[in-house]
Symmetry: C3
Subunit: 271 residues, 3 copies
């Protein structure tokens, strides 16, 4: 089966198995993240106090760590939950939001990577480049434009090899790599950058898919493609109304997405 066919199958499995996805995330986009997880057929749970983070991870099928509104209170929770996920063999998705933009984010990203085995790293080119140890100027969290597709492929491969994980760099063309294989995804719409949280939602969707399969390359591709396809459908429906309606239409599209549609609409290029 191709990655595309496997991704379509995974979507069906998410809807059947309803994995519980533990998110330690930011308060800006957390409501959309929860609704995105529900819309794809999984179940979200948010818990970020260090006294319960690991407990909640232990009853979940996946952990998603997002540093979007990082604070010192939750850093220990992220690491504690991450270690528990590693101990239980659960997938850990890391979204290093704004890595490169402040020392706190940089140091925290490093600390998490040092102490927790990451299964899938999902970010924009500048964030993932920071993880790769490259110098890249960061301008905010809503500005990722992976217009340099070739760079993204190299960065994705480098990071995937170094961390022994799957890397997903989202941009005009999304790049997914496990260090060897590369999947390029040409879905999505530029209007997605006009709604906050589409990146965070993508990471949580990836977590939902990883919650039902150890095939993390496919899980990452399925999550990224789901958001891209939802963006296309939402643009078709509400693109000319405004970004508020487009935002709602993204969730509508995710809630209606099935494996057949994903397979038909996904624009994957597998290398």
């Amino acid at each position: 089966m191709s990655v595309k066919q496997r991704a379509a199958k995974l979507l069906t499995e998410v809807r059947e198995q309803v994995p519980l996805v533990h998110n330690i995330t930011n308060y800006v986009t957390v409501n959309d993240v929860a609704n995105a997880v529900l819309s794809i057929g999984a179940s979200p749970i948010m818990a970020d106090d260090v006294e319960e983070a690991a407990d909640i991870t232990s009853i979940s099928q996946a952990l998603v760590i997002n540093i979007g509104t990082l604070n010192k209170r939750t850093i220990d929770s992220m690491i504690s939950a991450g270690k528990k996920a590693n101990e239980f063999g659960l997938p850990v998705v890391l979204d290093p939001v704004g890595a490169g933009a402040s020392n706190l984010r940089n140091e925290t990203t490093k600390a998490i990577i040092e102490q927790v085995k990451i299964s899938i790293l999902r970010g924009n080119l500048s964030e993932v480049s920071f993880v790769a140890g490259l110098d890249v100027a960061t301008k905010g969290v809503d500005s990722a434009e992976a217009d340099e597709e070739n760079d993204a492929v190299e960065v994705a491969k480098t990071v995937a090899k170094r961390l022994n994980c799957v890397t997903a760099i989202t941009g005009a063309v999304d790049i997914i790599s496990d260090g060897t294989s590369v999947v390029k995804i040409a879905n999505g719409h530029k209007m997605l950058s006009k709604v906050t949280g589409t990146g965070c939602m993508t990471s949580a969707l990836v977590g939902a898919f990883a919650g039902v399969s150890k095939d993390y390359l496919t899980a990452a591709a399925a999550g990224v493609a789901s958001m891209g396809i939802a963006g296309e459908m939402a643009y078709e429906k509400a693109g000319n109304i405004g970004t508020g309606s487009f935002h709602i239409a993204i969730i509508d599209a995710l809630s209606n997405l099935d494996g057949k549609t994903l397979e038909e609409m996904a624009k994957f290029e597998e290398e």
Copy 2:
């Protein structure tokens, strides 16, 4: 007057009196909670720092405590605000989100109940069963299915008697009890479980109704029925579009709900 007629009357009173409802709640669904409170005609205020929680309660007509994203910083605030509400004779609604899922949630739920007199406890069957001291497996916060209606009646009565409060267990059929009387509510739609926060919103609506009446059985029934009816109306309007549009349509329906419609649509069975 029947509970249904009293609930309809209470809705009119909420819209006339605009009670201020203090919510100490989670950051996942807080925006929906505030908008739900506004949509039913009340006024929301959120404040969770221990240095102001009791002050804010003292200018409010009701307090709603929701442990959805519990953290150690706000536990003291919940108790401080709860004691102030007790001192002032204000209603306290407790939503023990995810009780049973972690030690922190369990211990906090116990601590709140020990130190604060609860007026209305609102949760799903597993959460309220935990409070009742029963062993129930919890699977996340969006998974309550009170398919065992008889169990729910027993649990609701038991907890209501033990805490001398009104208990509202929401599920396929909602059960409201003060320990003696039981109101069963058959409104709602299963799609409500596909949007995060419908439970949290319900608890806040209950707080709005309790803010204008000491008849907490009716206040609980009115809040629960309002969400159920809004769910039915929203499904009628947006059920086939997707969960994003359904979510918005819930708030639309609440904002249009009046006493007459509540009385016509409410499916109450009073025992």
Copy 3:
């Protein structure tokens, strides 16, 4: 050029320059704030830990401080970021949400004003009156009704002179003043008070405009007028559907707003 013409021009400049707006804000309305900033053409970033707040301000074009869900953890961040903005000559917008409602909010508002030079103060009449040192009863955060237009003009002027800033008091008629000039804005719709966060979004929009111009009187007027006009457009489109759809239509309207429309629809009275 009139203030109205300058405001229209500023909107074009925001869309061209995409200023990065750092918000230290509350978790109730933060998602709407981020989407409002995006919809007007700017870029939002939220960061509130004291270890990174100043760092993030230093890469931004404006700072917006909102005390809506104040807690002790973030007070130091607000002051630290504010001082950095002052050092860098960046605009600081302060939204003293609920000032007057608790000692914590009162003391924090005072502390911020003492330690940070505010460029634009945006609040309702009771909040700004508190800053002016006047006794005004506060009833929640969604209840501002500046029905006493003359009072508002006096309060706005007084505070603007005392703090050497621009003051924007939003209400039925919005009052903007730098202590000498006064702009009255008659846009808006009362339904805006039925959606939480329209005040917070307004302050963030003001921050976006201030991020591209030192003409803070115009920036404040442009931000306030944008929300008022969006409210009118949203009411036209969704006013009879409900407050959920109206909420979404506000963001739609902001995302479609251009300088020409702002100039045509703005109802400014300049004194």
